[in-house]
């Protein structure tokens, strides 16, 4: 969403509508310059957000430290961007259209680590449970993080990798069936290295997601030979080799190595690089044998093969990786898992929190696997509930048990994603107050890609007048001219969801007995009353599908979608929405696009 991350929290630019296919770059430049000037002005004198003024420089620097970048990518960004900013956004800041972008090597996220070792060894990984948490890219509260792109290794993280590799491989080798998947032969005689080399090359291809170079294979065979010389059994020697592979950089990092890292000339991804991009996009895990063999056969890059593979990967149970890492993260399933509320005020919440996260994932999975339009995310009147969650929502519990079941319930006032727990709850305060502001921002940021006008920090203020109604206290903030710029749009939008309380329960009155007013409005003034009406409005809003495509592209490319991607994104959206816009069709479009299939070096 944010195109020029290195300007940090200032970078917010209104997304370009599809019609901008015809907009020349210079227009974009002017828009940026105006926006930048505006934001600098705002940054200097602030009433409403004054306490956060000190936050702005930090936000900027943490943006600059971000992982992926374009021509002015992370790390190197400062020089060119600053100069360009001072000069009124010189056109050279904007990479040429068709630039496939550069992404750095990056460590597996904890989620990817766990799924990858599971697929390689058959043993569950502990990374999510016990590793240092992944770094997150975004500073803004309501934006979606790019998880882990900036993960850095340090002593204690590497020690975790090393010890974990040791433990996992020991566990796998203790199971004869799992061991046999790796130890596929026994040496014919002492000193026979052919069997060892075969094992090293076969497992190496899977673990390092590319064929090993001869010297790499030789080094690993030497490791086994040394172990045998110390008196280790053949199994133990192979175990040591496998541990070494899982402790090494080519396993721990996603690496795309450019023939000439100093060149910015676009190049097609190498076949094995493409296989990894595809499998980590769709599975958050390592390529399977079929992807590796298509890569080895040289046919993977063909568009028809890519489409077939996207279909196959979606239909594989491993697409859970995509559902959780993309859908769950974008839409708040992971946030609700760690959300805490005061257990005294809301005793029921902890019993349903995990089920709510699971419900969102099932809801999203139905859109991934089904043939319906992705607008169903907003207006599908479907819930996945067990008896506890149904009761919590106030639905009928007839025929339900402990497992989540799909139910269609058109009689309540909930509909689609926004009637589910995660957005409603994770935007509310722990003390049990809803935040119309954060709800509005969440919808604008995540579903419409309408960025906030530019302050670094988001302050969820409401007036402190205890005599006023909640609604009046929220509106008092929007009415203040210093606050209105940031608050008016989200507050007005979020107020329309007041019928759903801070833990996602429908209500007709507040605790003090005053009735809930469900009137809200979109930023363009379109009025609505209540969640279900808003869901229908948003489902018909073309900005939603366009934004969904942007979110998915950002996830697929693991970097910000920036100016030079706009043409590609517009093309993807146009093609996608010309038919039934299923999620599957979107993924096919994104994967065959040149932004996904190409890359370039970082530059000199």
């Amino acid at each position: 969403m944010c195109r020029v991350k290195q300007i940090g929290t200032f970078c917010r630019q209104a997304p370009v509508a599809e019609t901008t296919l015809e907009v020349p770059l210079s227009t974009l430049v002017v828009r940026w310059a105006v926006l930048f000037a505006l934001l600098v002005g705002i940054g200097l004198g602030i009433g409403c957000n004054a306490p956060l003024a000190g936050k702005l420089p930090d936000g900027g620097s943490s943006g600059a430290a971000g992982g992926a970048g374009r021509v002015d990518g992370a790390g190197t960004a400062g020089v060119q961007t600053d100069a360009a900013g001072a000069a009124g956004m010189d056109a050279t800041v904007i990479p040429p259209a068709g630039d496939p972008g550069w992404t750095p090597i990056r460590l597996l996220t904890n989620f990817e680590y766990d799924l990858t070792v599971h697929d390689l060894l058959g043993v569950d990984g502990p990374a999510r449970a016990s590793f240092q948490p992944d770094r997150r890219e975004n500073t803004a509260y309501d934006d979606v993080d790019l998880v882990g792109v900036d993960n850095a290794v340090n002593d204690s993280r590497y020690e975790q990798y090393f010890d974990t590799a040791d433990t996992l491989v020991t566990t796998a080798f203790a199971d004869p069936a799992l061991r046999a998947r790796i130890v596929t032969c026994q040496p014919a005689a002492a000193g026979d290295q052919a069997c060892t080399l075969g094992i090293v090359n076969a497992f190496g291809l899977r673990a390092w997601r590319r064929p090993l170079a001869p010297d790499e294979a030789d080094g690993l065979v030497a490791l086994a030979t040394a172990a045998l010389a110390e008196g280790a059994t053949f199994n133990d020697a192979i175990q040591r080799v496998v541990t070494a592979m899982l402790s090494s950089a080519p396993f721990l990092y996603r690496m795309e190595i450019d023939p000439d890292p100093t060149s910015r000339a676009p190049r097609a991804l190498a076949p094995y690089e493409l296989a990894s991009r595809l499998s980590y996009l769709m599975w958050s895990s390592t390529p399977d044998d079929r992807l590796l063999s298509l890569a080895g056969g040289g046919t993977l890059a063909r568009a028809d093969v890519l489409r077939t593979e996207v279909d196959r990967l979606i239909d594989d149970p491993r697409s859970e990786g995509f559902i959780e890492a993309f859908g769950g993260h974008w839409l708040g399933a992971d946030a609700i898992a760690s959300h805490q509320v005061d257990p005294v005020t809301f005793p029921g919440f902890y019993a349903v929190g995990p089920a709510m996260a699971q419900e969102l994932l099932l809801f999203f999975a139905e859109l991934l696997h089904g043939q319906q339009s992705f607008t169903g995310l907003l207006d599908a009147d479907v819930n996945f509930v067990n008896v506890v969650l149904a009761d919590y929502y106030g639905m009928s519990t007839t025929g339900l048990d402990a497992t989540l079941k799909r139910v269609v319930n058109t009689t309540d006032r909930r509909k689609g994603l926004l009637g589910l727990g995660p957005m409603l709850i994770t935007t509310s305060t722990v003390t049990g107050r809803t935040s119309p502001f954060h709800r509005g921002r969440w919808i604008l940021d995540r579903l419409l890609c309408e960025p906030d006008p530019g302050f670094g920090g988001l302050i969820d203020g409401i007036a402190q007048d205890p005599a006023s109604t909640f609604r009046a206290r929220v509106q008092a903030v929007s009415a203040d001219p210093t606050c209105a710029g940031c608050h008016a749009a989200p507050d007005t939008l979020g107020l329309g969801l007041e019928e759903l309380d801070a833990v996602g329960v429908l209500r007709a009155t507040y605790a003090d007995g005053t009735p809930v007013d469900t009137r809200g409005a979109l930023p363009d003034g379109t009025p609505f009353a209540g969640e279900a009406e808003l869901a229908d409005l948003l489902a018909r809003d073309p900005r939603f599908l366009s934004c969904a495509a942007r979110q998915a592209m950002r996830y697929a490319l693991e970097r910000e979608v920036d100016a030079s991607d706009e043409l590609a994104l517009a093309k993807v959206v146009a093609t996608w929405t010309s038919g039934v816009p299923t999620l599957r069709a979107l993924l096919e479009q994104l994967v065959v696009d040149q932004t996904f299939r190409n890359r370039r070096g970082e530059g000199p």
């Binding site: 000190g54 936050k55 702005l56 930090d58 936000g59 943490s62 992370a74 790390g75 550069w102 750095p104 090597i105 990056r106 449970a129 016990s130 770094r135 997150r136 975004n138 500073t139 509260y141 850095a152 290794v153 340090n154 002593d155 204690s156 993280r157 590497y158 020690e159 090393f162 010890d163 040791d166 010297d215 790499e216 080094g219 690993l220 490791l223 040394a226 172990a227 110390e230 541990t243 070494a244 402790s247 090494s248 950089a249 080519p250 721990l252 990092y253 190595i257 450019d258 890292p261 760690s338 805490q340 005061d342 257990p343 005294v344 722990v430 670094g456 920090g457 070096g601 970082e602 530059g603």
Partner: protein, 461 residues
């Protein structure tokens, strides 16, 4: 003969003239000791400040001061205890800008101000912590430079600040929080795998680990030149980390007579799974015993422990409520249990449930200290004599960075004054306490720590 090491001389050379207290470098020996003691440092954190009934009645020394109701479990080791009052997190200013639980916890051992503007998802911006500063001076002396332990089995709430503030008190540097081990089995494995003289099979394992690390280093070194400059920097970080681990794997282990190994705990608990029969009390006891094992076997001399995270909502319903008065506490009312601490912290400081949880924290401190006191550590000294167990919270009551509840047990090898209650009213800087630890107990020559302004002579022997 003065036992000044080369390190002291090197470190001291540049600043010696500016230091009026150079004599503190002269080793101070505890009763009957003839060699320099091995000082252990064990900082222990508890969350959310304290209930009332923490402060002793009046300042004094020896028989002239008495433990408070909450501190009563320390009775067996009272002669080794010093309670401090009006120690402030001065880095946050006189009253503090109402920082939240996370920053006040993150800075508890750093004396630095945690950046409020750091991204909630990032690691944040803090300072090096006192335990890590001490661990730096011990590199190579023990198999593990330090251990970070905790009891929180929940992914605790982070108050919209970087979670590292809420979940890590040990910071290797300003941007590198060290994450704590919670699972007793993982803690045991870390101690044993460190190749202390506990496990005879360890030597072979060390050779195997080293050969694997050698391969990893060779492989990454060959890949590195093929990368662009940013990626080369990332690979540099990787290589540095691997080399550091290799150094540690290769470090010689020391033999220590009092080493008291345990068997591997049969019981595991972490943020993702706790057994059905989980008990925080059992968990705490296991972790305390593992600390004693790590220290007595000289696996490490620096262990930090978080008795809970900054704002855990853990229900302390395993604890029977106690009733507190000005003179002490008694069990009861019968049948009443404690609940979660953050709930108490929102009520009144005299809440007996809150005081009971704090009393329980102190009882775990007492368990550790009593065990250390029972282990001989050269001459007449016990391991507690040669330790400095620092105990406290980053706030007084919710969100106030002043008048922290703090105390230490053990004189750090006879170098710090014990058996007293000192009130620094109106204010003493937490960083000054740490600077005093560094210079007087850890025998370093650092000119400053955190936002320190000087050492505190009142606690130095």
């Amino acid at each position: 003969m003065k036992q000044l090491t080369r390190r002291h001389l090197l470190r001291g050379a540049g600043v010696a003239l500016a230091l009026p207290w150079l004599e503190s470098l002269e080793p101070k020996l505890a009763r009957g000791q003839t060699v320099l003691p091995r000082v252990r440092f064990v900082p222990i954190f508890f969350p959310l400040g304290t209930a009332s009934f923490w402060k002793p009645k009046a300042p004094g020394v020896g028989a002239a001061w008495q433990l408070s109701p909450i501190l009563e479990p320390l009775t067996p080791v009272k002669s080794q205890v010093t309670v401090l009052a009006h120690v402030d997190q001065t880095a946050y200013g006189p009253m503090g800008p109402s920082p939240s639980n996370g920053p006040l916890t993150g800075s508890f051992l750093t004396g630095a101000k945690c950046s409020f503007s750091s991204a909630p998802g990032g690691n944040g911006q803090n300072g090096v912590s006192i335990d890590q500063r001490f661990a730096q001076t011990l590199v190579g002396a023990t198999p593990l430079p330090s251990l970070q332990l905790g009891l929180s089995t929940q992914n605790s709430y982070c108050d919209a600040t970087p979670c590292a503030y809420s979940r890590s008190i040990s910071w290797k540097d300003a941007t590198t929080p060290l994450f704590k081990l919670v699972d007793p089995q993982a803690i045991f494995d870390a101690i044993v795998a460190s190749d202390a003289p506990i496990d005879p099979a360890a030597k072979g394992r060390r050779a195997a680990r080293k050969s694997v690390l050698d391969f990893v280093i060779g492989n990454a070194s060959k890949l590195q030149p093929r990368l662009g400059h940013s990626d080369r920097a990332r690979m540099d970080e990787f290589l540095t980390s691997v080399r550091e681990l290799e150094l540690r794997v290769a470090a010689p282990s020391l033999t220590t007579p009092p080493c008291a190994p345990l068997t591997r705990p049969t019981w595991s608990a972490s943020t993702t799974s706790v057994p059905a029969d989980y008990s925080r009390d059992t968990h705490a006891n296991l972790v305390v015993d593992l600390i004693v094992m790590a220290l007595s076997c000289d696996v490490t001399r620096v262990v930090s422990l978080m008795l809970d995270d900054a704002r855990s909502d853990f229900p302390y319903d395993f604890l029977d409520m106690r009733t507190f008065t000005a003179t002490g506490s008694t069990p009861g009312p019968a049948g009443q249990k404690c609940t979660n601490l953050v709930g108490y912290a929102n009520t009144t400081p005299t809440n007996p449930g809150w005081a009971t949880v704090d009393w329980w924290y102190v009882s775990k401190l007492a368990r550790l200290c009593e065990k250390l006191a029972s282990i001989p550590d050269g001459g007449d000294a016990s391991m507690l004599d040669n330790s400095l167990v620092w105990f406290g919270s980053g706030q007084w009551e919710e969100w106030r960075p002043t008048d922290l509840p703090t105390l230490y047990v053990g004189s750090g090898g006879g170098r710090l004054k014990v058996d007293r209650y000192i009130d620094f009213a109106p204010s003493q800087s937490l960083s000054n306490v740490y600077l005093t630890f560094l210079r007087s107990a850890f025998l370093q020559t650092d000119a400053a720590f955190g936002d320190s302004t000087g050492v505190i002579p009142d606690i130095v022997v």
